[in-house]
Amino acid sequence: MELEIISFGKIAEVIQSQQLKIPDVSNTEELKIYLEKSFPLLSKMKYKLALNKTIVQENLELKNNDTVALMPPFSGG
C-alpha cells in the first residue's frame, strides 16, 4: 500500500516526508515496526503517530493513500 508520511522536528532528519510504498502492513502497529526496522534511528526516538490528522491512541487499520504524521515532543521555550 502507499502512504503519505509527514514527519516533524528531529524525526524529519531520519525519515523525510514522502510517499512511501509499504508491503505487508495493514495497521498502525505494523507500520511502526516496519518504520523502525527500515529507519533504525527512529526506534531510539520518542514520537506519536497521527493517522489522517487524528492522534493515534490504539492500533488502527490503514488504507491505501492514508496520511500518517510522526510527531516528536518539543520542550523549548
Partner: protein
C-alpha cells in the same frame, strides 16, 4: 473603563466592550518569561488582560536577548520577573501584573494555579511542562501549551471540554516524560528568535480567544508550525487510556514521576571553581561527553573524551577513580551522562556535572594555566 487605549479592538466586529470587560476581569498566569513568555506577556498586557502573573526564577543572559525581546543589554544579570514587570507596567499601567520569582515545584504550583483562571506554559524543559500539565489537569485549569524546537513549534489547549464534552491533556499525546537528554532543547538545538515570537504571539491570541469567547480556540487540537515553509498541520487529540493522573491534591503531592522531586539523583552540579577544586583531588576523572567534532577542543590529557554516542559502550568498562566529573557544551548532555553513571555506581562514587557547560565557563577553558 477608559476605552481609548483599546479602541482598535473594541470596534472589531464580534469583540466590543463586552469582550474588553471580559479581558479586563481575566486572570492569566504565564509560566516562563523567556522566548515564548516575552511576546505572550507583551500582547496580553497591551490588550488589557486585567490580572497577570509571571513565574520565572532565572536571570537575563546575553544569549537570551536574540529572542527574549522584553529585555535589553543593560538588563543582563537582572531577574527576568522584575525587569519584565517594570517594562510591562510601563506599557500598560492600568492592569495588575505580579512577579513570582520562583521555580515551580510540586509543593508550590497548586497554590499558584489557584490564583489564576488560564495558565500559559512557555517553559523550556519537560520537567516543568509535565508538572504544569499534571497540576492543571488536577485542578481542571485551562492550559495553553506552547513549545518550540529548531524552526518548528507546537501549540494546543488542554483541560477544556470540546463540544462532545471531552477534555485532553499533554499526557494524551506523550504519556511518559522523555529522559534527560533524550530530546534536545534550545540551548543544544538552537532556535531562531522569531520562532518563539510567532508561537508566543499565537499563544497570546489563543488566550484572548478563550477569555473573550472568540473564534475557534485550539481545544483538543495540536497545531504544528514550520517556519521554514510556513506550513501548519493540525492534529485532533482524543483521550488516551494508558496513563493515570492523581485525582486528589494529596495524591498529586505524592506523585513521584516529576524529576525535581524524584528520589536519588545524587549527582551534583558544580561550577568551574568547584571543578578546579575537584581537579586537585588525587582520584578524579574528567570526561568530555561532546562529540569529536565539537569545539573548542580540550586537552585530551586532562579531559578524557567519551562522546554521548559512545557512552553506552563506555558504561560497560569500570572506572577506577572515585570522583567523576562530566562536561559538555551546555551542561545538559553531561547531566544525562551523570544520571547513567549514577545508576551504575550508586553511592560508591561521587559524580559531578559542570553546570552551564563549557560555553558558560569558556574563559576557564581558554586560560593557558588550564592546559597543565
Amino acid at each position: 473603563m477608559k476605552t481609548e487605549r483599546y479602541d482598535r479592538q473594541i470596534i472589531l466586529q464580534g469583540f466590543g466592550e463586552k469582550a474588553q470587560s471580559l479581558l479586563s476581569a481575566a486572570r492569566v498566569l504565564v509560566i516562563g518569561a523567556g522566548g515564548l513568555g516575552c511576546p505572550i506577556l507583551q500582547y496580553l498586557v497591551a490588550a488589557g488582560t486585567g490580572h497577570i502573573g509571571i513565574v520565572d526564577d532565572d536571570t537575563i543572559a546575553l544569549s537570551n536577548l536574540q529572542r527574549q525581546i522584553l529585555f535589553s543589554t543593560a538588563d543582563v544579570g537582572k531577574l527576568k520577573t522584575i525587569v519584565a514587570v517594570e517594562r510591562l507596567q510601563e506599557m500598560n499601567p492600568e492592569i495588575e501584573i505580579k512577579p513570582f520569582n520562583l521555580r515551580i515545584q510540586k509543593n508550590n504550583i497548586l497554590e499558584l494555579l489557584k490564583m489564576y483562571d488560564i495558565i500559559v506554559d512557555g517553559t523550556d524543559n519537560f520537567d516543568s511542562r509535565y508538572l504544569i500539565n499534571d497540576a492543571c489537569t488536577l485542578l481542571k485549569k485551562p492550559l495553553i501549551f506552547a513549545a518550540v524546537s529548531g524552526y518548528e513549534g507546537q501549540l494546543a489547549i488542554f483541560n477544556v471540554k470540546d463540544h462532545q464534552g471531552k477534555a485532553t491533556n499533554y499526557r494524551d499525546i506523550f504519556p511518559v516524560p522523555p529522559q534527560a537528554g533524550e530530546i534536545p532543547n534550545c540551548a543544544e538545538n538552537g532556535v531562531l528568535g522569531v520562532l518563539p515570537g510567532i508561537i508566543g504571539t499565537m499563544a497570546a491570541a489563543e488566550a484572548i480567544k478563550m477569555i473573550t469567547g472568540s473564534g475557534k480556540p485550539l481545544i483538543n487540537i495540536l497545531l504544528h508550525y514550520n517556519l521554514l515553509n510556513q506550513e501548519q498541520y493540525q492534529m485532533h487529540i482524543t483521550p488516551a487510556t494508558d496513563y493515570n493522573l492523581p485525582t486528589t491534591e494529596d495524591d498529586f503531592l505524592k506523585m513521584n514521576n516529576h524529576h525535581d522531586l524524584e528520589s536519588p539523583s545524587t549527582y551534583i552540579e558544580v561550577d568551574a571553581i568547584q571543578m578546579r577544586a575537584l581537579q586537585q583531588l588525587p582520584s578524579t576523572l574528567l570526561i568530555d561527553v561532546r562529540e569529536r567534532h565539537e569545539v573548542p577542543a580540550l586537552d585530551p590529557a586532562t579531559y578524557v573524551k567519551v562522546p554521548m554516542s559512545e557512552f553506552d559502550t563506555f558504561l560497560n568498562t569500570d572506572i577506577q577513580e572515585e570522583n567523576i566529573l562530566l562536561l559538555c557544551q551546555h551542561g545538559i548532555r553531561s547531566v544525562a551522562a551523570a544520571e547513567a553513571l549514577q545508576e551504575k555506581y550508586g553511592h560508591s562514587k561521587k559524580i559531578y556535572s559542570l553546570k552551564g557547560g563549557i560555553v558558560k565557563w569558556r574563559d576557564h577553558f581558554l586560560t593557558p594555566s588550564n592546559e597543565r
